[in-house]
């Protein structure tokens, strides 16, 4: 009789593990299929039944893609934009967050509310006036437009403010009494203390910018300016029968982000959890 609850619990555990494995397999399946297909010939991609192990492995796809697509240019452009945006976002975001979290000025809270409010505003609703404005300044069809588009988002300010508020004010007070200016406090005390939050913001911004498709789609016309997302999408249009090669391109576009994500996963997760604490 006493064994029943434990037996029941054991079956429960087994079922939970089973659920976890099935869910994980289901979620990962598209990626598995992507990698497998990238190593096939076109005719092998769609077969019934599915060929789970390519025979033979066609590594040549990973050479061909660099010739057929402008991968080098795309990666270079994407890298440039992502690095610049991340730098701008981290510096101006943490700077502004200090202003919101640790200094007082009239209108501060209203201003912050304005930032938060724009999180509910879809970019699609104001992309036309924004495009018009940037075009009139001659910035359309340049990489600068993409940099500007992404660099001043509300997210960075919000994330950093949440973190700064967890640092006690007494620390700033003590520094003020010791004669440090507000800028000094930001630079010498807040920045070093907020390294985990800065890491979160860096990795999240980098990944978002790398993955952005709509900005480049609207702003970048010239081939030599395309980012990897735009390039990949155009490649799909140009070679829509080259199933295997398209998968190869997809793998290559995901790979850098997969590496960055796996290395900095902890910060990524923490950053998202931080923004979720308060709402």
């Amino acid at each position: 009789m006493a064994a029943r609850p434990t037996a029941l619990r054991k079956t429960g555990r087994v079922l939970l593990y089973l659920a976890m494995i099935v869910a994980a397999a289901g979620i990962l399946l598209p990626f598995v299929w992507m990698v497998i297909s990238s190593l096939k010939t076109n005719n092998q991609v769609f077969t019934a039944p599915i060929e789970w192990i390519p025979d033979p492995f066609r590594w040549r796809n990973y050479v061909d893609i660099w010739i057929k697509g402008d991968m080098v240019t795309w990666v270079r452009n994407t890298m440039t934009v992502s690095v610049v945006v991340t730098l701008l976002q981290v510096v101006t975001g943490s700077f502004a967050a200090y202003g919101f979290a640790k200094t007082r000025f009239p209108g501060r809270d209203a201003l912050f509310l304005l930032y938060i409010g724009t999180i509910a505003v879809p970019w699609a609703s104001y992309m036309i006036p924004q495009f018009q404005m940037l075009s009139s300044w001659g910035l359309a069809n340049t990489l600068y437009s993409i940099m500007l588009l992404q660099a001043f988002g509300a997210f960075g300010v919000f994330l950093m403010k949440q973190y700064y508020e967890s640092i006690p004010d007494s620390l700033c007070e003590a520094a003020r009494i010791d004669g440090l200016s507000e800028y000094g406090i930001w630079w010498r005390i807040m920045l070093p203390l907020s390294v985990p939050a800065l890491a979160s913001l860096t990795i999240i911004t980098f990944v978002t910018t790398w993955n952005d498709y709509l900005g480049p789609l609207i702003y970048l016309r010239d081939r030599e300016l395309w980012t990897i997302q735009l390039g990949l999408q155009r490649f799909v249009g140009d070679y829509n029968a080259e199933h295997a090669l398209i998968m190869t391109g997809s793998v290559l576009s995901v790979l850098p982000i997969a590496i960055v994500f796996l290395l900095g996963q902890r910060y990524f997760v923490q950053g998202i959890a931080t923004t979720g604490v308060k709402g």
Binding site: L16, A19, M20, A23, A24, I27, L28, P30, F31, W33, M34, F46, T47, T92, A96, G99, T103, R104, F105, L111, L114, Y115, T118, I119, A120, V121, P122, A124, S125, Y126, M127, I128, P129, Q132, F152, G156, E182, N211, Y213, L214, L217, I218, I228, L232, Q233, V236, H243, I246, M247, S250, S253, V254, I257, A258, L262, Q265, F268, A273, G276, G279
Partner: protein, 316 residues
């Protein structure tokens, strides 16, 4: 004792007479502090104002003009909005946006909450599973759409091959069929975003006190009862946050549709964001597109405000 008031006015509840000289440095200190505060906010705010706030304000103005490819932005009043009332494509886009939201919101909440509860069981391999579940969210929408489109391929796609093992007869045409394109997009949208909300739920679950669960267990509450009467009420703040975020995300769905179906087949998956894009950047009816954009803007803000008010009333 003759002049106590002068010696210590505060003791009698009278205000200290403030010497006028002291006042000047105090206000200047306040001004200085305010200026310092502004200098911190300014670099980011300048970019934010120019790239977000001003375009949002301009949007309302543009929606009242006949601005088109020839560049004449003549004031036309509410003409664009009158045109919206009779525009069938706009109605379809509006309907599809709500169609997507109506399924994407509950599905994503259920899936992400389920994943979070599973992860919270402290099973071995949970860290790996968290990575897996979150991975779709960090991969690029283009790669995701390309892969899913192939998976959904009606004849030899893996998904239909799988379904075909269990069901006979006609299989769904997915992205090439008018009836199945939207379900396909909803499935991919849910698959992509559930890992993100799972993280929020997981953070929320850490705040549920274990004593409550223990007490309920001793009182003989089953798994389901404990979930319904302990976990869910404790998760209310997180649930609210997630609901607001998923709702906004649903109504602004754009890139997913654009890369998966381009709104097709026909107009089966045309949504508001994409209609703005079509009208504005393909047909250059910028004034008219702006009026569609105003509608999208108002829906998103409106839904968010309603949710906040509702949450406040339940709190009260």
């Amino acid at each position: 004792m003759a002049t106590p008031v002068v010696d210590n006015p505060g003791a009698l509840g009278l205000p200290h007479p403030v010497p006028p000289r002291r006042r000047a440095p105090r206000t200047s200190l306040k001004v200085r502090n305010a200026l310092v505060g502004w200098t911190f906010v300014l670099p980011n705010f300048a970019g934010f104002a120019v790239l977000t706030l001003i375009p949002v304000l301009l949007l309302f103005y543009y929606s009242l003009t006949s601005w088109n490819i020839f560049g004449n932005a003549d004031w036309v009043g509410l003409e664009n909005y009158q045109r919206l009332v009779g525009d069938r494509s706009f109605h379809i886009a509006l309907g599809n946006t709500f169609y997507y939201a109506a399924f994407h919101i509950p599905l994503t909440i259920a899936a992400s909450l389920g994943l979070a509860l599973l992860l919270n069981q402290k099973l071995r391999g949970a860290a790996f599973f968290r990575t897996v579940a979150f991975f779709p969210y960090v991969t690029s929408i283009v790669a995701v759409a390309v892969v899913w489109n192939m998976l959904f391929s009606p004849e030899f796609g893996p998904i239909n091959q799988f379904i075909g093992m269990f069901v006979g007869g006609e299989l769904p045409g997915w992205t090439v069929s008018k009836d199945w394109a939207m379900p396909a997009v909803i499935i991919v949208g849910t698959w992509r975003y559930m890992g993100y909300y799972m993280l929020l739920f997981l953070a929320g679950l850490q705040t549920v006190p274990t004593e409550l669960h223990e007490a309920a267990r001793i009182d003989g509450a089953g798994v389901w009862q404990r979930f319904w009467n302990v976990t869910l009420p404790c998760l209310r703040p997180t649930m609210f946050l997630v609901t607001v975020m998923v709702t906004i995300e649903s109504f602004k769905v754009f890139d997913l549709i654009l890369v998966m179906t381009e709104g097709g087949p026909g107009q089966a998956t045309l949504v508001l964001s994409q209609y703005i894009w079509q009208k504005g950047f393909e047909q250059f009816e910028l004034g008219y597109a702006s009026s569609v954009a105003v509608v999208l803007f108002l829906i998103c803000i409106g839904v968010t405000v309603v949710q906040f008010l509702y949450n406040k009333r339940r709190d009260a």
